[in-house]
Amino acid sequence: MANRRANFCGSEDHLIHRRGFLGAAAAGAFAANMGVLNVLQSPTLASELKRQQKHVILLWLAGGASQLETWDPKPGHDNGGPFRAIETNVPGVHISELLPKMAQRMHTTCLIRSLNTRNADHGGGAELMERGRRDEPTVKYPDLGAIIARELGRPDSEVPDYVSMYTTSEGRRKGSAGFLGARYAPMFLDKELMPANIRRLEQISDLDHQQRGELRQMLGEKFARGRGSHSVDSHNGAYKRVRGLMASEKLFDVSLEPQKYRDAYGPTQFGEQTLVARRLIEAGVPFVKVARGWWDSHGQNFETHLELVTELDHVMSTLIDDLEARGLLEHTLIITLGEFGRTPRINPSLGRDHFASAWSASLTGCGIKGGAVWGKSSPDGMTVVDGEVGAGELFATIFQALGIDHKKDYFLGSRPIPLTNPGIEPIRDVLA
């Protein structure tokens, strides 16, 4: 099993030297200070590493998708709505008829139907489900992407380690690295599918761009000596990554993708962004979030879900097939999740409102026991009757699926902060 780098805790009081994580193979190439050995020097090591590298694609259902129209249908009940439940290729597991393609792929996916997260407002719910816990006044927790970037990213990486796409303007959320610091903040795309400022300006030649970077670096390294400042080091670090990140521009360019794959993902924006996500993780980006806004169907819930779930079904299935064909599915965790679910009770506009007492999420791929279903909601969908879990348990499960110890500590100053709060356990039944 690939070893993790020793955690660098970011506190001056707790300087832990980095270790090359290939152990003996890298003997003699140890870094004594902030530099880290460049594994890419060895091609076989590099490709081995790439194959072992894990990734996450978070399909964020912004606005709160209805669990009743997706993973936890309640046909035959007043709250069930008009869409029926269909069988899947996992005996005994039924999902909404709006997901016929996923129904044929349930062997790759596990469902958690017993989320009770108590937070039914967009801001609070999103904060909770992005981070696995609510912020405290003195602690701003990093979101999932920042943690994954820290755990699964590489310091000298030529690709970004956390990319977040949120193109609809409603409820738009940027993502936050919290106390991990801006080093792990996402590369954020909102209006455009291309990250801002990633292209060299025309008026400067590539040589000049590179050389002035080198001048800057020389000044920067000279200045950093003796300052004892991680902030200064992060400044130099950010600039070091610029040229590599600029090179990753092509990853965002779907026109470079063969037409058959572009057609497979379909003509919608969400499909296109998911294709970009696949390109990114294929190139080694550990975490990509694709937000699909906006599911907040207070009115016309069924019409809206007819549109959006049909799209999700198609795009997610295409992604699964695509990753599988590339041998990446076992190394990639696909998550569908939103800030909360929707009320079982149907309002007079035929809508469903916010609901956090019994809702669902799905996990596909890496480290997951395909076809598993955890938790039960009541027949009327109003409460969890079995296996109640919160955001913490979901996150612990995600970390374990990726081979990350959910109990490990980060350090905020000298204060240890575990990845999940004490007492939280992963849902073992859905882990491989």
Binding site: D78, P82, R292, Q300, P348
Partner: protein, 337 residues
């Protein structure tokens, strides 16, 4: 007894199990048959004080269309099936399981008893023999996908009083008038304002034409839906009606109501086509009556619930509305002593 829309008054109101999406009744009967969200078809007797509703079971999802055809009642549902009911016994006598490939949105019977029409999200209008249940014809004139690449819906159909014409209307505001006999498309009309696509804030659509009806002289087609919406999370837009001279291909009337917001779910022309009744709602309900000559509103009232369907009597003096958890009847005439 002449109908007078100015004298619209509510008569009866009763709570019902679930949401009633459709109704049919004979003009001379006090019985109404309603399709319900619980998959049942309920028969209510409007002459009775208390309404219990006699259920008929057979569907497994929302019943969105019911039509009296000959001795039977034909119903259509989100379960994609059509059921023929024996009204005496309350039992299904025929079930066509996959009458449509997708969710059925409406069922109508021709006045002359020669066919029953059903519309569904497979974007096809199917014509059926009411006696044998045989499929007579399939009318295809609506796109399967919206221009934004999402599955579309075929919400509404209407049959002319002489049973010669059928009109269908969909999510994106496309209307087709058909010749029933041949299945030929006679005319197409567009009411695109009824379809709101939000590309930036929420990136999905809302709306669609939800109701359609011929004028009594069959010269006009009226469609109802909702106007442009800013926040598509809600039915937060003006209720909207457009009327067309379908042969000339011209719009004759346009009514948009800023205060009574929501969907116009059902429409009916009054006697001599002098006025038009529209009903529907958002979280609440409304009834609007328009003088077609003056092009003005006669009545703009709240209804006790979001109305999904209604029937106006032939003489225009009584109206029955069904919707979200309620049945309400109305009179449009001078109160008799």
């Amino acid at each position: 007894m002449t109908a007078d829309p100015n004298k619209l008054t509510k008569k009866l109101e009763t709570g019902t199990p679930g949401i009633l999406f459709c109704l049919d009744k004979r003009d001379d009967s006090s019985l109404i048959h309603c399709g319900c969200s619980d998959g049942k078809v309920y028969t209510f007797d409007l002459s009775e004080e208390k309404q219990a509703g006699k259920p008929m079971e057979g569907h497994t999802s929302y019943v969105t269309g019911v039509a009296l055809a000959g001795k039977h009642l034909v119903s259509g549902s989100f379960d994609c099936s059509l059921i023929w009911w024996d009204l005496e016994t309350g039992k299904p006598i025929r079930t066509i399981k996959d009458a449509h490939a997708r969710w059925i949105r409406g069922v109508k019977a021709s006045p002359d008893g020669s066919f029953v029409a059903s519309v569904a999200d497979d974007m096809v209008c199917r014509l059926w023999d009411p006696e044998s249940g045989k499929l007579l014809r399939a009318l295809q004139g609506h796109e399967l996908q919206t221009p934004h690449h999402y599955p579309s819906m075929l919400y509404a159909c209407a049959i002319s009083s002489d049973s010669k014409l059928i009109a269908t209307a969909d999510r994106v505001g496309h209307i087709v008038v058909w010749e029933a006999e041949s299945g030929r498309s006679l005319a197409t009309l567009e009411a695109p304002v009824m379809y709101t696509w939000d590309p930036t804030q929420r990136r999905h659509s809302i709306g669609g034409i939800r109701s359609i009806t011929f004028s009594r002289d069959n010269k006009l087609v009226a469609v109802g839906g909702i106007g442009k919406i800013g926040n598509i999370d809600h039915l937060d837009g003006p209720s909207r009606i457009e009327v067309f001279d379908w042969q000339a291909g011209e719009r004759t009337h346009e009514f948009s109501h800023d205060k009574l917001k929501g969907l116009v779910e059902t429409l009916a022309f009054g006697p001599d086509d002098a006025w038009l009744v529209a009903s529907g709602g958002d979280h609440g309900g409304f009834i609007q009556i328009y003088d077609l000559k003056e092009k003005k509103a006669i009545k703009e009232e709240k209804a006790p619930m979001h109305v999904h369907d209604m029937l106006l009597s032939a003489d225009g003096t009584s109206l029955c509305t069904v919707g979200h958890g309620r049945v309400a009847t109305w009179e449009l005439k001078e109160a008799t002593a």
